[in-house]
Symmetry: C2
DNA sequence: TAGATTGTTAATCGATTAACAATC
DNA sequence: TAGATTGTTAATCGATTAACAATC
C-alpha cells in the first residue's frame, strides 16, 4: 500500500516519532513550511539524513521551498497509524501499569485503551480514567466480545509467558512489552516493541562510571 | 583506567546490560562456564559479536573452554558501576515517578535513591519505600547537605528546563530523563539517558500498520 | 595429541554523509 | 533569471559477520 512496506529500515522507523513530535510543535506554532536544514537543526541530525528519511515515504518536498508542514505532518501521522486507533488492553495494573494508563494521551499516539486487567482481587472494580479494572479470569471473555488489536504487558518476566500464551490464543499479535520475556522467540509472527527500562538505568550507570 | 574508556561504541555499551542479565541468571543457576556460542544463542546475536564485545573489555575467555561465568559477571558488574551506588534523587512523584521508585531494585542497578521531590504540597510527607516525599522548595538545601550524584526526571517537558537549571547549578551532571527536554543541548557536559516511552508506543503503531 | 573455542584480522554489509544535478 | 532547496547518486564511515591462526 505504501512505498514503505518492506524496505524501510529500523533506524529510519525509529526517527519517525521524532519527526512527528517536531512537526506537531511547528504546526501548533502555525509554521507553514520547513526546510530539511531547519528540521535537521531541531533534531540534531544532518540535513542529508532528513531528506533521505522523508524520501523513503514519497517525496513531498518542493525544490527551493522546503516541506509543507501540515501536509508532511499528515503524512507522518498516516504512516504512524495515528488515524486508526488500535484497541488495546493493559495487563498488570501495578505501579507501572497505572503510570502507563495515566501518563499518555493514547489517542494522540494511535491507540485506545479499552480494558485493564489484573490478578489482584483488591484492584478489581477500581476506576482509572473512565475504565474499570477487570479480573484476570474474565480476560478470554472480554477478548471474545470486544475486538482488541494490541496488549501492553506491565507484569514481571516470570508471569509473562502464560499471559502471552492466553493473549496469543485469543488472537492478539501486537505487544508493548515491559517485561524481559522474549515474545518473538516463542511467537515469531507477533509484532513486539520491548521497553527495557532497567537497561536504560544500567546504561546510564556505565556512562557515569566510564565517561 | 579501563581499556574501555574512550573507544567503546554505543552499540556495544547498550548490549552490556543484556550480558549482565544473562550472566546473572546463569550464575544463579550455578553455571560455571559459558561459550560465546551459548551466549549468542541466548541473546540472539552472533558468536562473533559476543567475542568482539567481550574483547573490548579485556579478554577473559579461555581458548578451548569458554568464559568463566562468575569472573565475567564480576567484570561486567564492574564496568556497569554496580558496585558504586550512585546517590540519586527522583524529581516528580506523579504516576510515573511513583512507578519508577517502586518498580526497580536500584541497588542491583548501581543506584541508590536518596530523595524524592515534588511541587505538590499534598504529596509532601508521604512515604514510599522508606523515603519521604520532600517539597520542591527544599531541593537546594537537600543537595547541599547530601552528596548526590544523579537525578531522575519524571516531570513534563515544560517544567524540565527550570528543574534541570537548578539541579545543574547544584552540581548534578548525570540524568535519567523521561521528559522530551533536551538536556545535553543546553548542558553538553552532562551525561544523559533519555527514555522516551511515547516513541516506543509510536514505533509499535508504525510496525502494526505497516508490517 | 586432538578437540574446542577464543582472540583478532579481514570481508561484508548497511547506514550516514557529501555532493550535485534537477527544479521550484 | 537567480537563489534556494529538494531528490538522488556516490563516497564514507562504522558496525557486524566470517574466517582462521593461536592456544588451552
Amino acid at each position: 500500500m505504501n512505498k514503505t512496506d518492506n524496505q524501510i529500515s529500523m533506524p529510519v522507523i525509529r526517527r519517525l516519532p521524532r519527526y512527528y513530535r517536531c512537526l506537531s510543535i511547528l504546526s501548533e506554532n502555525g509554521v507553514e513550511t520547513v526546510s530539511s536544514k531547519e528540521l535537521s537543526q531541531i533534531l540534531n541530525i544532518t540535513a542529508s539524513q532528513v531528506r533521505q528519511d522523508l524520501n523513503h515515504f514519497g517525496g513531498f518536498g518542493l525544490q527551493g521551498c522546503g516541506y509543507d508542514v501540515p501536509h508532511l505532518l499528515d503524512k507522518v501521522r498516516e504512516l504512524l497509524g495515528i488515524y486508526r486507533a488500535k484497541r488495546t488492553v493493559i495487563y498488570g495494573i501495578g505501579n507501572l501499569g497505572r503510570a502507563v494508563v495515566c501518563h499518555f494521551d493514547f489517542i494522540k499516539l494511535g491507540f485506545e485503551i479499552c480494558g485493564l486487567f489484573d490478578t489482584n482481587e483488591k484492584l478489581v472494580g477500581e476506576n482509572i480514567k473512565d475504565l474499570t479494572i477487570l479480573h484476570d479470569s474474565t480476560l478470554e471473555d472480554f477478548l471474545l466480545q470486544n475486538s482488541v488489536d494490541a496488549a501492553i504487558l506491565c507484569i514481571p518476566t516470570d508471569s509473562a509467558e502464560q499471559v502471552v500464551d492466553r493473549l496469543y490464543a485469543a488472537g492478539i499479535r501486537c505487544f508493548l512489552n515491559f517485561s524481559h520475556y522474549d515474545i518473538t522467540g516463542k511467537y515469531p509472527d507477533c509484532i513486539v516493541e520491548d521497553v527495557h527500562l532497567s537497561e536504560s538505568i544500567l546504561t546510564l550507570g556505565f556512562l557515569a562510571e566510564n565517561l
